[in-house]
């Protein structure tokens, strides 16, 4: 618990997290305002279209993962890993604290990201006189899925940061995977690609595009990815010398 309090203070005491949060807010506002006001009416009527449109809050997952990556890589980059491990030589407990801190900040990113997209998007649709076709269950899945998915991405980021302690390397790995590699796999082999973490976490928000997994299966898949990365991360932290 002490270590978790230390990790949360680390997140709050630099400008990195607030910068990521501002980036997320700017992107969410820009996307929602542009698509909801400029899209032709035909593209934003109906349940499926509206779920897809309002699922943009899932972009919070990228920001949460970046924040999670920073939890380890900035310690290696600036050398604070040395005092951190000296003050808590139990590396497993240190790792768990960082994973929890990453997930908690992910929840904040998810609430802000999807909260903005959803509330602003619905408001604009209503203002344009477009009826909301989503059911209450759709909306719940969209919001809960986004928040839970973003929390898991925060934890995945922590695991990745422990596996790849080089900050630039870890960020490039995340972005190359999320924006290139996984889309290629899903494009060519959707039956495989839907099990990969970005597409599975999208599916946690509901049927936002065809060929995705069902929501509950998707949740299990993303949790499994998180556990795999966390497991590899804790092994690396325990084995690696702090030079």
């Amino acid at each position: 618990m002490n270590q978790l309090r230390a990790e949360l203070l680390k997140i709050r005491s630099t400008r990195t997290s607030i910068g990521l949060l501002l980036g997320l807010i700017a992107l969410a506002l820009l996307f929602t305002i542009l698509t909801c006001t400029l899209s032709a009416q035909a593209q934003i009527v109906g349940e499926q279209n509206q779920i897809s449109l309002l699922s943009f809050g899932s972009i919070a997952g990228v920001f949460a993962a970046l924040a999670g990556i920073m939890l380890f890589t900035s310690e290696y980059r600036f050398g604070t890993i040395r005092p951190t491990v000296l003050f808590n030589p139990n590396r497993s407990s240190l790792f768990v604290s960082k994973i929890v801190a990453g997930a908690l900040s992910g929840i904040v990113f998810g609430i802000i990201g999807e909260g903005l997209v959803f509330s602003l998007g619905v408001a604009i649709l209503k203002a344009r006189g477009i009826p909301i076709a989503m059911t209450g269950a759709n909306m719940t899945e969209l919001i809960v899925g986004a928040i839970l998915g973003t929390a898991l991405w925060g934890a995945i980021g922590v695991g990745l940061g422990s596996i790849v302690p080089n900050q630039v390397g870890a960020v490039i790995a995340l972005l190359a995977w999320g924006f290139v590699a996984e889309n290629l796999v899903f494009g060519f082999l959707p039956k495989v690609g839907r099990f990969l973490p970005v597409h599975a976490s999208d599916a946690m928000m509901g049927p936002i595009q065809p060929q995705l997994l069902a929501g509950n299966v998707a949740t299990v898949v993303v949790v499994a990815w998180t556990l795999v990365l966390a497991g590899a991360g804790v092994i690396m932290l325990r084995r690696r010398d702090v030079s």
Partner: protein
Amino acid sequence: MGPIHFVESPAIEGENVSYVVQSDSLSKRYGKVLAVDDLSFKIEAGTITGFLGPNGAGKSTTLRMLLGLAKPSSGHATIFGIPYDQLETPALRVGAVLEATDFHPGRSGRDHLRMLSRAVGLPDARVDEVLSLVELHDAAKRRVKGYSLGMRQRLGLAAALLGNPDLLVLDEPANGLDPEGVRWLRDFLRDFALGGRTVLVSSHVLAEVAQTVDQVLIINRGRLVTESTLDDLTARVGGAVRVRSPQLDQLDDALRREGIVTSRSNDHALLAQGTTRERVGDIAFAAGAAIYELATEGSSLEEIFLDLTSVEATP
């Protein structure tokens, strides 16, 4: 900078401990390079030990193994009788500064200390205490990126002192300090050790720590070269005295008759080994030899250090 005061630390209870730090055949191999080679030493409570050797001798690697940051390839190390990472809340027993620059530049000095103190459940009040101790109170809320090197060194020291430890481990703490900073550090370490606490301080420059330490461990190429008190080391050097005189042969004979080993330097001066200026002066007076110059060879301690550490590692 003002004086520093430490509260006398309570006696160590619990473990039946005779040595604060103990290294048993510690070795560390990186690929083909043997960075630390079968290194054994012990450090008693209440001493200030200089851990010396040229750059790359294996000092930092050894300290990291002592503190559980790096795993030894073989051998083992204990602090207060047990491995560092098995001490209960080691930060309350041991304070360490391994690099002068281990800070996030965008975080304030105070927040750096707060995040560490939280990890061991210390209150923020303790953070303010150590900030005053190292005289950083006024800069505490500024981001570390605006700190001078001396301020960073002191912030690192503040972090090490958070847990009011009985052992302080410092890796090259004088690097980059100005003379005033070096003096401040010296006084600081002396005061720290006064209450029976222990200091292990590494350096690649003997002169930097010669006025502070009680004993030295000298390593080279990962192996222990010398383990001795500073007095013994000084005695071994023997204080060569350099003397110039127009009656050089006469003086040389007189010195030899007194059992003093002499040699001639290139510039026709006489070097008398293992004696003092006073003695040489007296002998010269008795022998009727005029003295033009009489001086102790200044860097003799440094020379023996260089001698010891330039030896090829013995097979």
